[in-house]
């Protein structure tokens, strides 16, 4: 029975970071720690570590919602192959 019950797991669809075309690049110096990007990341791929945000690139799909919502322009979407 136990083997038939799914357990909470990151990456139920694998390393979804591979889906990215654009990568969110975060500039800590421009950030005011408002946490809006953390709240609105649909993937839940942003963590708050010691009050600062940290993006989990293993799973971030590169949707760009975080960059759009950031009033401080502290997140920039950059094409993966340009990195």
């Amino acid at each position: 029975m136990e083997c038939m019950i799914a357990k909470p797991s990151k990456g139920s669809a694998g390393k979804t970071g591979l889906w990215r075309t654009f990568k969110p690049i975060y500039d800590e110096n421009k950030c005011n720690n408002c946490l809006l990007c953390w709240l609105y990341c649909p993937e839940n791929a942003i963590d708050v570590v010691d009050g600062k945000i940290s993006i989990d690139y293993d799973y971030c799909k590169g949707c760009g919602v975080c960059a759009k919502i950031c009033a401080k322009k502290a997140i920039e979407m950059v094409r993966e192959e340009e990195l």
Binding site: C3, S12, A13, P42, D58, K61, G64, V65, A67
Partner: protein, 297 residues
């Protein structure tokens, strides 16, 4: 309503990253907020839809709360059973039905029955205005004139107002919410969790592939819908109130021009100026209804 502050929200994740939702998925925003609002009190009941897929497969679940996958039309009936079992066994847990607008079309009979009986549950309809998981078919809540794969020249029928239907069904709590305003949604979920009986939240969920806009614009699109007056945020907890976010847009001069919202979406690119004027007329009519309800309810 108690104001929800970002800094006070729990950091624990109940929707886990790396799931199958598309980039910029509105259901993902809604589900993550549900976890922030109610945490492990949630026992999720999900009929077929995008969320079935988002929930994970085989031995991996994308949720940290339990989730039951149920046949289409049965979701509220299953929640009725869960609620009464929890009560009899003295177990903690809130049955939360999470379904799409298609699910609320197909499951309307059981939705209506659970509401009439005031069964103990929270029902959230995450409305992306079409049956997305099967390839963008028209639903009862698809906007008039919107193109879908079953309305290739634009939907001919009027959009139904599900939240007002549930209000007239005498639900114990009814609210509209939006993935553009997650703190408002979380506040409404918490309010709903403190009320007994049948509680209903209609969540507006713009879908990038289904509506034809960039994945980065989900939140912006949801906010535009509110700012142009097309989606009105309100709450009934015994008293009907237009939510503070929507309040300014009762005044038409404060609204963002409707075309700004519609023209950003591929499903509306074909609209003529007359079509937009007609949609605006219908939105004005909706506001008259909602403002009147605030007077009488």
């Amino acid at each position: 309503m108690v104001v929800v502050k970002i800094k006070d929200l729990p950091k624990e994740k109940f929707l886990l990253p790396g799931n199958t939702s598309c980039q910029g998925c509105p259901h993902a925003l809604g589900l993550k907020s549900l976890g922030m609002a109610l945490g492990d009190d949630v026992v999720l009941v999900v009929p077929a839809g995008c969320t079935t897929i988002i929930a994970g497969s085989k031995d991996k679940s994308s949720f940290k709360f339990p989730c039951l996958h149920v046949p289409f039309a049965s979701a509220p009936a299953v929640a009725t059973g869960l609620g009464s079992a929890f009560r009899r066994l003295g177990k903690r847990g809130i049955p939360v039905v999470w379904m799409g607008d298609g699910g609320s079309d197909i499951g309307f009979a059981t939705l209506s029955g659970a509401c009439v009986r005031k069964d103990d549950m929270i029902v959230i309809v995450s409305d992306n205005e079409a049956y997305m998981n099967t390839g963008i078919q028209t639903s009862g809540t698809t906007f008039w004139k919107a193109k879908t794969t079953t309305s290739p020249t634009g939907k001919r029928e009027e959009k139904k107002d599900l939240a007002l239907i549930m209000l007239m069904h005498k639900a114990d709590y009814v609210a509209t919410a939006s993935v553009g305003y997650l703190q408002d949604f979380i506040g409404k979920l918490r309010k709903a969790s403190e009320i007994d009986g049948f509680r209903f939240i209609h969540l507006h969920s713009p879908c990038p592939p289904g509506w034809g806009f960039d994945s980065s614009e989900t939140v912006e699109m949801a906010r535009l819908a509110v700012k142009c007056g097309a989606w009105i945020l309100w709450e009934f907890d015994g008293k009907f109130k237009i939510s503070s976010i929507s309040k300014p847009y009762a005044d038409k001069s404060k609204r963002t021009p409707l075309a700004e919202y519609l023209k950003k979406q591929r499903r509306f690119r074909h609209l003529s100026d007359e079509d937009i004027a007609e949609i605006e007329r219908r939105i004005d009519e909706q506001w008259r209804v909602v403002l009147a309800l605030e007077e009488v309810f």
